[in-house]
Symmetry: C2
Subunit: 371 residues, 2 copies
């Protein structure tokens, strides 16, 4: 099945391993199992060395599902199933529910999987284009304009990668009203949920407000454990059943080791998210200060998520800009072109203060050649 190259992931794979300053990382500074051990009294080492490495709980253990449910206001175990990261969670939802000829609505710029994977299956796609002048926030009219009688799913990423766009509860309710009129699913990839530096609270999840909402998440971003490749889906029980049957063709299970470690991460989520919030907050302060003194770059800094989308005021295509920057300074960004938007760079609030400070200072020095 033909599919467009996944530009951001391809760029990451090709360029991220050899850089001095990775200022584009989406995962809050990743932890080790030794770090995890500090958050819990359970003897992780002894447990994992003794696990029989069979397929483990095929649809996820009850303990893990309970830990996941603590992130939401509603739902039971029958509303949760497991996947290999949020990427596979999104895949499973899309391939299970969509058919060739179905119409879907997605954001642009956004995570490319949300529109190009349905497209590869033969779905028709309409994009709601986010406008930086409006702080990357769409209006409900933007959605109304593109809905059709055969719109089967609205595919969102909120907080959004790369803009950080995050919907307020009021806007979510308007969107839900619209979806209801079309009897349409809302799929929301909520992988960046959990680090709202303004409210310091867990933001609302679509799955707590709409009976045809399906949300996905994983341990990769705000929980700092991408390496576990543990994602999940929360949705109506009939959708979860459909996906559970479907998953046998895709991954079978996550394995007992990742299931167990996922429990430990989520059972200690408060401490882990506190750390992540702290890191994101410091990065945002740093970025704000830096932007005040750097006229060649501007940015809408979002309340939530681990990323934002820098605009640079230099007349050079973003791919060329990033390659030159990385070659000359070791600073690594994903170019806006990987999201279909020129003159932008994705910035991540995910690294240590000193590291980012050094990186930004180096970036400004490099920008001197364009003043």
């Amino acid at each position: 099945m033909k599919i467009n190259e996944f530009d951001v992931e391809t760029w990451m794979t090709e360029h991220e391993t050899h850089c001095q300053y990775n200022l584009t990382e989406t995962c809050v500074s990743s932890l080790s199992l030794n770090d995890l051990q500090k958050y819990t009294d359970e003897d992780i080492t002894s447990t994992i060395m003794n696990i029989t490495m069979d397929y483990g709980p095929i649809v996820g253990s009850s303990r893990l599902k309970k830990a996941i449910l603590s992130l939401y206001e509603t739902g039971h175990e029958e509303n949760i199933t497991m996947a290999h990261g949020a990427i596979n969670a999104n895949e499973l939802v899309i391939i299970s529910l969509l058919e060739p000829g179905d119409h879907i609505v997605s954001l642009f710029p956004s995570y490319q999987q949300m529109y190009d994977f349905p497209r590869s299956l033969g779905c028709e796609v309409s994009l709601v284009v986010l406008d930086e002048e409006k702080n990357w926030m769409p209006s409900i009219e933007d959605f109304q304009k593109v809905m059709k009688s055969n719109t089967k799913m609205i595919c969102l990423n909120s907080p959004n990668n790369p803009t950080g766009t995050c919907f307020s509860l009021d806007f979510m309710k308007e969107l839900i009203d619209l979806a209801q009129q079309y009897d349409c699913y809302i799929l929301c990839d909520e992988i960046y949920r959990g680090v709202n530096t303004v409210t310091k609270q867990l933001s609302p999840s679509f799955s707590d407000y709409y009976d045809k909402a399906i949300v996905t998440q994983s341990l990769s971003k705000v929980f700092s454990f991408a390496g576990l490749r543990l994602g999940w889906i929360k949705g109506p029980s009939d959708v979860i059943q459909t996906i559970d049957l479907r998953r046998d063709y895709h991954i079978i299970s996550n394995g007992p080791l990742d299931d167990y470690l996922g429990c430990i991460v989520l059972e200690n989520k408060d401490k882990i998210i506190e750390r992540s919030l702290n890191i994101c907050e410091k990065n945002k302060e740093l970025l704000k200060e830096w932007l005040e003194n750097e006229p060649l770059v501007s940015c809408v800094i979002p309340d939530e998520g681990t990323v934002c989308f820098l605009k640079y005021h230099v007349n050079m295509p973003s791919k060329e800009f990033c390659l030159k920057l990385q070659e000359e300074t070791g600073i690594f960004f994903v170019p806006g072109s990987a999201f279909g938007v020129e003159n932008h760079l994705r910035f991540g609030f995910t690294h240590d203060y000193e590291y980012v400070k050094e990186g930004l200072t180096t970036f400004s020095k490099w920008l001197n050649q364009f003043r």
Copy 2:
């Protein structure tokens, strides 16, 4: 996208957790990390506790690919890529290379993914039906009869689940000649390769004999580490490149923990496979002895693989037979109906001698009611 229920996996998920004798298991008695530690001088615990849990090597580490290549006679790192188990490896190959309208050829009975996943993508499927009277071995004429001008791929599982059908090198070469005439890929899921109890040697892999062969494998069956969910694909470098780009939409990576542990398993493959061969061999001896004294069951016992397909001479549909058997004795089998063949049971050569002996003795006692 509509797809048929994956009967064998659904049956396993529903029934395997509450049985006394699992006589249908396909994975050679699963090991723990403590067991793995006994095979190596590397300090596994210390290493895994210190790994930074980011995405890890996206397409698999060089060390892991080298370890995988030791299972084949030909190939370089560019011929290998990683997947989440062989199930995902097969998915990635099929979804990357096939288009709606392509024709594929598969075996029947076989692993359902091989024909029903292409079917769900809109491919046309022809099945080569295996005949128990011919020891479940197809002839080259069986394949010749179903090839078409648009045959894009021959999808095989060898050794085959559930029959254990395994192709000799001579037959493989005949099949390759046929595929070449149609410029057609051969995809072979070789997940059961490695435990030939007759030759005690690694059997030939399609990937060492045909430049359009793509083979998949994982650590689940003969390596006893299903829980790592580590699978791989070996194929032509252009196919591997296509899959590497495609994989960003499906799994991104396996994570650094599984990558590292996969290295340790494969670098100690000789000792692990020796154990597996020993277990399979003892199970086969036991089954042969038992069959000599059990007129209600017969079986073609294969040279390789971890499974065979028992035929029972009782007039009862296999699903009903299995449910009644499990309810009354705790013995768990996958019914032939899950593979589309009645009056059969899938048997696995994978458990400890005493456990299987007790199970088979109990099975014979239960069969007394039908004599």
